[in-house]
């Protein structure tokens, strides 16, 4: 597709606007009483993003008995023959719902570039602004009329990777903390998981706010006459949706304090654990894609003590999330994905650390749409290379997308006026998972 095609571009824009147009029925439209019982169920994805490059050789693909193997022991799991680190005792019990891809092999060893590839499935080229996987999935599954945005990122990964050429409508709502903190320190108790600017400014009463919106509605009505435009529509729709999200029913999605203390404890009182709980509350209310970040995996020094500690946080949050989703009948419709931007060197360095290593690493998937209880692919005995064909990021992205019922070859119009597929054209589905 090399020439300008206004019809296609216009169509894309009109369809986006049209979907919004339906919701333009006033500022304070009354809402169905219980948002949690949203009948429009679609599949959702929760991405547990391990920022910094986790040492998956000490987590999902151990090498006991080899010099590269480190200090951790392997344990049996509920899935026959699949062994993981001793620091994941809770996940081990639920291994029948979990699959490990041990054959990940990628090229980028720089945090920023690898994160970009990991979250978009594309290697950066020129001016093309690739959208995050969360934006792509929200674009397909998200409900434009919903009170909550379709893509939420918890734990504050840097917000630079968002809607890309799909536009800011599909960028994540970013909530809470910084991933620079380890997420499980004393400060990280989940108390910071709040939507920025969701509250009325101090000193502005609800009546006052309503009156302000009335004044605004009056101005909008007069300006609108005869001037229907996509830009005007997106401005009004964003304000409209922001107002809806401020409504107590919608804002309640973020009220973790409404959960029982015992359940909150089961997730772990870390930002990550409480973020996993928030992810469940959001998915339950129809949010299509939630990211929960757990940082601190860049273990150039003291790899083993750090990985042990972070594994504990991950084990608790991840397993509680699976249990909770299952008990609510949501696990079949929710795909959980867990990985970082790359793995770490099999060879242990002089500081008991491991360095950046994209050539071999593992990704983990659980829940809806995939076959659990298995390990797909393998690495050599020293962990240095993939034994067989490496699985690349586009393959993983295509498989995730396919698992929630989206065609990975579907094209979107990009900012450089070229259609770009959801997954890179070279992507091959990981057949064993589907």
């Amino acid at each position: 597709m090399s020439s300008f095609s206004p019809s296609r571009r216009d169509w894309l824009r009109l369809s986006a606007v049209g979907a919004v147009g339906a919701s333009q029925s006033g500022w304070m439209q009354t809402l169905a009483a219980d948002v949690a019982k949203n009948p429009k169920r679609h599949k959702s994805v929760i991405l547990l993003w391990l920022a910094g490059g986790p040492a998956t050789i000490d987590m999902w693909d151990l090498k006991p008995g080899h010099a590269n193997g480190g200090t951790f022991k392997e344990i049996e799991t509920a899935a026959n023959g699949v062994k993981i680190s001793e620091h994941f005792p809770k996940i081990a019990k639920q291994m029948k719902d979990v699959a490990i891809v041990r054959s990940m092999g990628t090229k980028e060893g720089d945090h920023q570039r690898a994160t970009l590839v990991g979250l978009t499935g594309y290697t950066p080229v020129g001016a093309i602004q690739f959208p995050a996987i969360g934006s792509l999935i929200t674009h397909e599954l998200g409900d434009q009329d919903a009170d909550l945005p379709g893509f939420v990122s918890i734990g504050g990964r840097e917000g630079s990777i968002g809607g890309g050429f799909l536009g800011p409508r599909f960028s994540p709502l970013v909530i809470g903390g910084g991933i620079r903190g380890n997420g499980d320190g004393p400060a990280g108790t989940g108390a910071d998981l709040k939507v920025p600017d969701l509250q009325r400014p101090a000193g502005v009463s609800e009546t006052n706010q309503t009156k302000r919106l009335d004044l605004l509605a009056g101005l909008e009505k007069d300006f609108e006459a005869g001037r229907g435009s996509p830009v005007g529509d997106t401005l009004k729709s964003a304000t409209d949706r922001a107002v809806r999200m401020m409504r107590p029913e919608a804002a309640a999605a973020f009220r973790l304090e409404d959960e029982k203390a015992a359940l909150r404890d089961s997730y772990g009182r870390s930002t990550f654990g409480q973020g996993c709980l928030l992810a469940r509350r959001l998915v339950e209310r129809g949010v299509a894609f939630v990211e929960v970040s757990l940082g601190g995996w860049d273990t150039h020094n003291n790899n083993f003590s750090t990985v042990e500690r972070l594994s504990g946080t991950l084990d608790q949050g991840f397993s509680a999330l699976m249990t909770d989703l299952k008990e609510r009948g949501l696990l079949d419709d929710t795909l959980i994905v867990c990985h970082g931007e790359f793995g770490r060197t099999p060879k242990i360095n002089g500081n008991a650390g491991r360095d950046h290593w994209p050539a071999t690493w593992s990704a983990v998937l659980a829940g809806g749409g995939i076959k659990g209880g298995q390990a797909v692919g393998k690495t050599t005995a020293d962990g240095m290379s993939v034994d067989g064909e490496p699985t690349r990021t586009p393959d993983l992205i295509a498989t995730i997308v396919k698992a929630v019922g989206i065609d990975p070859t579907k094209q979107n119009m990009s900012n450089v006026s070229r259609p770009i597929r959801i997954a890179d054209p070279s992507a091959k589905l990981i057949k064993e998972l589907l």
Binding site: S2, A127, G167, S229, A242, S417
Partner: protein, 513 residues
């Protein structure tokens, strides 16, 4: 002989062309040409153009497009009071010669040439590059000379401390020949080679070989077996083939006998900025057009080599404007002056009943979003705070501006979208909250405390400050009553704050129309 060529090149870089092909028409004449061409298209399409906008709307539009912010109350009152017939032409000329224009265009050219600086990864590169462009816009350096200076920059030696340099262009491409080739052809020629980097695209005109041949101009020279410096060759990844530097037009490349590290870039720059280059002038004009009209004359912006670039709707008009641009000595301000003096630029955003709304006809103005920079500067202007500094120096205020601009970044104003997070920030965020407080908002304080103003006068002041117009009778009635009743807090000052809040959250304020 070859050495002479290099010397000659160096001379040309520093000196404007002595002989101009033909004197260009005056900006007003060129504006007439544009109007004539567009009218002909309207006739063919059997449509009527929108009405010409009133003075207040024109002032606001021209201010946003040329200096990147809404007008102040004083500027609005002065313009409305002016009764001279040519006041619109005088206005745009004054704006184009102002410091605000320098800063606004520095951001525009930086965004065109170093779009990477709008990402967090490369954000640190924006300031230096914009400072470098600003100096050139201020001095109205010919566009071809500016681009040549950029492309031939010696990157082996660091620029002296304290001087501004366009080195960010190279840093944003990580100094990789392939990234630089893609970025340079897109920014300066409107030719998109990105897809040809990895494969021959079935529909594209450019081959993978051509991509790597272009990239080779950016590679450092190599040494052959005898230790002699020779032109560079680049391997195509995952193949056994290497490519030497070749031009996209197939013209011969003449390497001098002595090859310096930037010789390849000098050769490429001469071709890119040469008068015979089929894309260079058209690309600049097309992008400048899109800057003030929203939609480019030829879309997409980066496919001038495609069918629409050569035979599309306004391909001929683009060629005419490009020729005038070349004849003017690549005078950027000259082209801008012509573009904003047309009748087409003064058309309303409201199409007449039954008229076509095809944006390619330019029979009406599109409603456009504001860039983050425009929105920030306009909010401050509306509040009566100093709208801008004439320099592009650094300071705490600029950090706040940068953060805000990044949060409200839009790719192209004509397709701008707003997110929920952005809307929440506009409604409940720190900046808006501060601006509803008379202590931090001189416009609001002035209206609230003016002893000589009745409520109508106060409300009018706010409308003039934020929207650059007086309220309609209907708006005035409802809002005056609200303020007289003291709003919801029985406090007319706070009620005025509510009015200011509603005004800055309106579509009218948040768009360029």
């Amino acid at each position: 002989m070859r050495l002479h060529r290099i010397l000659l090149l160096a001379v040309v870089v520093g000196v404007p062309p002595a002989v101009r092909a033909a004197e260009p028409p005056s900006p007003a004449k060129l504006a007439d040409v544009i109007d004539a061409r567009l009218s002909a298209e309207w006739k063919k399409a059997n449509t009527t153009p929108a009405k010409v906008v009133d003075d207040a709307t024109f002032l606001r539009r021209a201010s946003l497009d040329l200096i990147g912010r809404v007008p102040t109350v004083a500027e609005t009152r002065e313009f409305l009071a002016d009764t001279s017939a040519d006041k619109r032409a005088k206005l745009v000329n004054r704006l184009i010669d102002s410091g605000g224009h320098t800063r606004h265009m520095a951001t525009f050219w930086r965004r065109t040439m170093v779009p990477q600086a709008d990402t967090i990864e490369f954000a640190r590169l924006a300031d230096d590059f914009e400072s470098w462009v600003a100096v050139r816009v201020q001095d109205n350096v010919p566009y071809d000379r500016m681009v040549k200076e950029l492309l031939t920059l010696p990157t082996t030696t660091n620029p002296p401390r304290g001087t501004v340099s366009p080195v960010s262009f190279f840093a944003a491409s990580e100094n990789k020949p392939e990234n630089l080739a893609a970025n340079a052809t897109r920014s300066f020629l409107g030719v998109n080679l990105d897809c040809a980097q990895c494969h021959d695209h079935p529909f594209a005109r450019w081959t993978r070989d051509q991509f790597w041949q272009t990239a080779a101009f950016f590679a450092p020279p190599q040494k052959n077996k005898d230790g002699k410096t020779v032109p560079p060759e680049l391997p195509i990844p995952n193949t056994k083939r290497t490519m030497g530097a070749e031009l996209l037009t197939g013209d011969a490349v003449k390497w001098p006998s002595t090859i310096a590290p930037n010789t390849g870039r000098q050769l490429l720059a001469s071709w890119i900025t040469g008068k015979e280059n089929p894309y260079f002038a058209r690309n600049a004009v097309n992008r400048m057009w899109a800057q003030v009209y929203g939609t480019a004359l030829v879309e997409p912006l980066d496919d001038l080599s495609g069918e629409t670039g050569n035979k599309g709707y306004h391909a001929e008009l683009l060629k005419e404007l490009a020729d005038a641009f070349v004849a003017s000595g690549y005078d950027m301000k000259y082209i801008t002056r012509a573009m904003v003096q047309t009748k087409a630029y003064q058309l309303s955003t409201v199409a007449p009943e039954g008229a076509t709304t095809d944006p390619r006809l330019f029979a009406k103005m599109p409603v456009r979003g504001l860039t983050g920079e425009q929105l920030y500067d306009s909010l401050r202007t509306a509040a009566g705070l100093p709208p801008e500094r004439d320099d592009t120096g650094r300071g705490l205020g600029l950090e706040a501006r940068k953060r805000f601009a990044a949060q409200f970044h839009v790719e192209r104003t004509v397709t701008a979208e707003r997110s929920i997070v952005q809307a929440l920030s506009m409604m409940n965020g720190r900046l808006t909250t501060d601006l509803t407080d008379p202590a931090k908002n001189p416009t609001l304080a002035g209206a609230a405390d003016a002893p000589f103003l009745d409520t109508r006068g106060k409300v009018e002041t706010l409308f003039m400050g934020v929207l650059g117009r007086k309220p309609t009778a209907k708006e005035a009635t409802a809002i005056i009553k609200y303020v007289d009743d003291g709003g919801t807090e029985n406090d007319s000052h706070r009620a005025l704050g509510d009015v200011f809040w509603a005004l800055v959250n309106s579509t009218e304020f948040n768009s360029n129309h």
